[in-house]
Amino acid sequence: MRYVGLTTIGGNHITTIINVQNIQKSFKKQTVLKDVSLSVTEGTVYALLGANGSGKTTLLKIITGLLKQDAGITSIKNWDANKNARAMQQLFSYSAQASTVDDILTGFENLVLIAKLRHIQNPKQVANDLLTEFKLTDAANKRAAAYSGGMRRRLDLAMSLVGNPEIVFLDEPTTGLDPASRNDLWDSIRKLKKAGKTIFLTTQYLKEADLLADEIGFLRDGEIVETGTPAQMKRLAGPDKLQLSFKTETEQLQAASHLSGFDLQTVNDVTLTVKLPDTVQTVMTILTILQGAEIKPDSFQVTSPTLDDVFMQLTKGA
């Protein structure tokens, strides 16, 4: 069965490529997914955020057909996963949480193996092309066991791209990587998006979701509790804040009394924060008031909420 998944917004066709409806899954008596629904637009990056054990991997395995759900429907490019699992498998690749590369084989052999299993005409050529693309040519004939964490993940991603799948599922792709390797992998994911791929990733790194995702789904207690763009998600944590630091406690107290009409918070003896419902206008107003009262802040800084704040807020009740 195929579902219709084409929507038109403002003259642009937006195609839903992954559709998940009311998924439920329990292991023995433990309910992992209560009622999960989400949709992913073609050519975008969707990040599924959630704390450890929130069910991210379980959901990913259900979408890719590796695990059967107890109830609900998943479809990829309008193919019903329950009825057309094999047709679906041509469209995507899946990379598990740990780098699923074969340590005993070389990088080249790993790629050739996947190319053979994808029944590609010239496996060796495909392997060499991907080794070049992922800057692994020098290590092509070394066993994967000798690769660094970053190289293993790059090889893992290269293996996911054998056969040029339309959708790439990545389960916590940068877990355990050093910052440089993480940046390299983020660049690779951005390139994939530029090439028109749809990427569905799970992550615990909020910065990763912020930098890469077009849309974020937040999974908690077996349900998607919030969904939206990174900017929309950050707004959930409240408005921007102005942080004012003074040289003395007296100056801080004077400032607080002049700004009593604002939503203030005292951080310490010399620092105040003010919530900004309208960032630019409110900052100008506050600085004008302080200038009129001849109080000169030692420093000031406008801070925006981060996904960390959202994460903390959303996991508070968990």
């Binding site: 598990a96 052999e109 053979k116």
Partner: protein, 252 residues
Amino acid sequence: MTYLSDTFALAGRLIKHNLRSVDTIITVVLMPIMMLLLMVYLFGSAMKIEGFSHADYVNYVLPGILLMTIATGSAYTALRIFTDKTSGMFDRFKSLLISKSAVMNGQAVASVIFLMISTLIVPAVGFLVGFRSDATLGEWALVILLLFGAALAITWITAPFALMMSSIDGASAFSYIILLFLFISSAFVPAAGMPKLIRGFAENQPMTHIIQAVRSLMNSQPIGDHGWIAAAWIIGITIVFAFLSSWMAKRV
């Protein structure tokens, strides 16, 4: 055709694993050779077996050592299956558009090929320490067929345990049960001399029938009922455990 190419691509990967693992080669090839030398030179002179002189003990014990090679090697089959299950390789393969049974069949093909290679090295060493055979080419062909069947059956019987266990030690420990079957059989001494209760088990368990059939064929003697009973055990175990393994592999 794609089913076969998938199976052989996956088997090729595991054969590389075996050939690149010094530990596997030492355990699977050298240990049975050491056991053969130990049996022949240390215990051989003390063994009194009807129909075999002291010097011929190597002819008696060699089939048991061949089965021991297969049993020892099965620990590595379990290890490879368990590692693929826990490392995410199974998931990677299962997410591809390949025949789902190719994943386990690849394991079986690789295991049998490796076990047969290591098994065939043992008679060569046996020949150096006095093993002689009057067997015809046809009898040798039947010996190879029986050993192939034993390797296949032991591989499949190992697979469900490797899939079921939650630790690597548990997965490979199953080979000790197979080795136990080997020791409580006619592999090293005739079952006739065993205590009554043990003898009843030893005379009727599959290892004894396979070993007796191989021994009779190698020594160009009539195999009696051992041949068809051994074949029935091998076919039965292979069918039951191959289905069980494939069923379980789809669920892990």
